[in-house]
């Protein structure tokens, strides 16, 4: 069996989540990968160095079309003939493209898998992670997205794959890429950070939300947020952790002023160690927190910083 993995990259650097998808794919068979975009050549070079990758399919495109689901979904459907499974890490990009590919191939996709039982049987969370469903696919080909936090990423160096250039098909047309606006951040990427400091409604406003930065700086942490914090405009949507935001599983997750509704827990309850600071002793976040402090976060935040500075 040979498996094709669609890789997400940023300016040629392969995302860690995509290396988790390669780890999942390796359980199923030999692995080829696909990289697209204006920096596909750089991405292909990085991808070829990933151990276990046999072949890299490189699709260089400078027209903006590789930003669109329509042509990339058609490309994957064209490439599908040679593969039993098509995988990608569950990013916004993959969720945009892979279901469309599945429709073109008359396949029911299997999103967000957390375990592989055999070539047809997979485990995936449903109901915001309130249940784990084991599902068996009757389709000849499987289209799968992988929850990165459930698969240890493969190494980034040591491999030596071949690279093959392929052209992007036109797709059905009718869709034009206008622009992308990325928020710049010096911090580690939320989904692969070792430590995440998240703020919720308890941060009260945009100004106060920034108070999390000195703590995050000390811990080398990414910053996350609850939906309420995003809704109220304390931070933009890409910070959202949860059922409909990003799924994270860092070594340490610190929740400041977050109540812990199920939709939020869905995005962080697989973290190794959870810390919660909340003034309400009954807040549901304490039911999943390893360490909790009941109190006013605005008092505790500076104390935490001082303690970290002390022995650190």
């Amino acid at each position: 069996m040979t498996v094709l993995v669609y890789l997400d990259h940023e300016g040629g650097a392969i995302r860690q989540a995509s290396r988790s998808a390669i780890a999942a794919a390796s359980k199923l068979g030999d692995v080829d990968v696909l990289v697209t975009g204006p920096d596909a050549a750089a991405a292909a070079k990085s991808a070829a160095a990933i151990p276990g990758v046999k072949k890299v399919v490189q699709v260089t495109d400078t027209t903006g079309n590789s930003e669109l689901a329509e042509p990339v979904a058609s490309l994957l459907a064209d490439l599908a003939a040679g593969y039993t499974h098509i995988l990608a890490a569950s990013s916004a990009t993959a969720k945009n493209i892979l279901p469309r590919t599945a429709a073109l191939l008359d396949v029911q996709p299997i999103p967000d898998i957390v375990a592989i039982n055999d070539a047809d049987t997979f485990v995936r969370p449903i109901y915001a992670g309130s249940a784990l469903a084991t599902v068996k696919s009757a389709d000849a080909k499987k289209i799968i997205t992988v929850r990165a936090s459930s698969f240890e990423p493969v190494a980034s160096e040591g491999g030596n794959a071949t690279i093959e250039e392929v052209a992007l098909p036109a797709g059905p047309g009718g869709s034009t890429f206008i622009a992308t606006e990325l928020s710049k951040s010096e911090r580690p990427e939320l989904e692969s950070a070792r430590v995440v400091v998240s703020g919720g409604n308890g941060m009260l406003n945009e100004e106060n939300f920034k108070l999390l930065e000195p703590l995050a700086d000390r811990l080398g942490a990414a910053i996350g947020a609850s939906r309420a914090a995003v809704d109220k405009g304390f931070v933009s949507n890409e910070y959202q952790v949860g059922q409909t935001g990003k799924i994270v599983a860092p070594e340490l997750y610190i929740a400041m002023g977050i109540s812990g509704q199920i939709q939020h827990l869905a995005g962080m309850k697989d973290s190794k160690v959870i810390v919660a600071v909340n003034k309400d002793p009954e807040a549901p976040i304490f039911q999943v927190a390893d360490y909790g402090i009941v109190g006013d976060l605005f008092t505790i935040l500076p104390q935490l910083e001082a303690e970290l500075d002390k022995a650190g």
């Binding site: 940023e10 945009n96 429709a103 969370p125 340490l252």
Partner: protein
């Protein structure tokens, strides 16, 4: 201009779902059901486009048990003009739903189809993309802003690192994200009015669609439970525990 809005009946998002003792699925008997929250946003967006004079007719569609009528009534109370119930007892999955919707699109010829980005029961996040694929039409998923002008729709969409804007020729498919709008509550007079709005009832067989699921559920289990830890009295104790006990800093 005509808009089609598919709406799904799901367990209300405030209810914590319980896994059935025999591991065959999640308990739905006697559980409060509501319209999928993302679909409320999709209906709201269609209604706003109608209020702006861009849209002339809104058709809500639901595929599922007879009780999905309640969901369609809610959609009509929010402002949909009429609705179609595609009745089936088979568990729906995105591929079969997309096939039903494709058949309806070919019949009704809407200019815009607005779906939710994700059903909060199966968490698939696939139906809109699949419908667009089957129709060979352009798609804009995870929409946070929608503007219709001159036979095209410009959509701002949420992506991992920020946002992206795309322009689609109509007819097109859009899936709604949480930030798109804040859905209205249906007023009592509108709920009364909705009772008189037309609801057509058909079956997947009428549309020639085979609903047999491709994914069969082997078992459904509770996820491993996380135990509540300990409450600490001070930041000093927390830092010391994180360093010496959990060893994560």
């Amino acid at each position: 201009m005509k808009v089609l809005v598919p709406v799904k009946r799901v367990i209300d998002y405030n209810i914590k779902p319980r896994v059935k003792a025999d591991g065959s699925g999640v308990e739905t008997a006697g559980v409060k059901m509501s319209m999928n929250p993302f679909d409320e946003i999709a209906v709201e967006e269609a209604v706003r486009l109608k209020e702006k004079g861009v849209v002339s007719e809104i058709i809500a569609v639901s595929i599922g048990e007879a009780k999905a009528q309640d969901t369609l009534r809610t959609a009509m109370a929010m402002g949909a003009d009429r609705s179609i119930l595609v009745e089936t007892d088979v568990v729906t999955e995105p591929l079969s739903v997309a096939k039903v919707l494709k058949a309806l699109v070919e019949k009704e010829k809407p200019d815009l189809i607005i779906l939710g980005k994700q059903a909060i029961d199966d968490d698939m996040n696939a139906t809109g993309q699949m419908l667009a694929g089957l129709l060979g039409r352009p798609q804009a998923t995870f929409a946070s802003k929608v503007e219709v002008a001159d036979g095209a729709v410009t959509v701002m969409r949420e992506i991992d690192g920020g946002s992206q804007t795309v322009k689609l020729a109509l007819p097109a498919i859009i899936t709604a994200d949480l930030r798109l709008n804040e859905p209205r509550y249906a007023s009592l007079p509108n709920i009364m009015k909705a009772r008189k709005k037309p609801m057509e009832k058909i079956t997947p067989a009428d549309l020639g669609v085979d609903m047999t699921p491709r994914l069969s559920v082997v078992s459904v289990a509770e996820p491993p439970e996380r135990k509540a830890g300990i409450k600490l009295d001070s930041a000093a104790e927390l830092v010391s525990r994180l360093r010496n006990e959990a060893k994560v800093i």
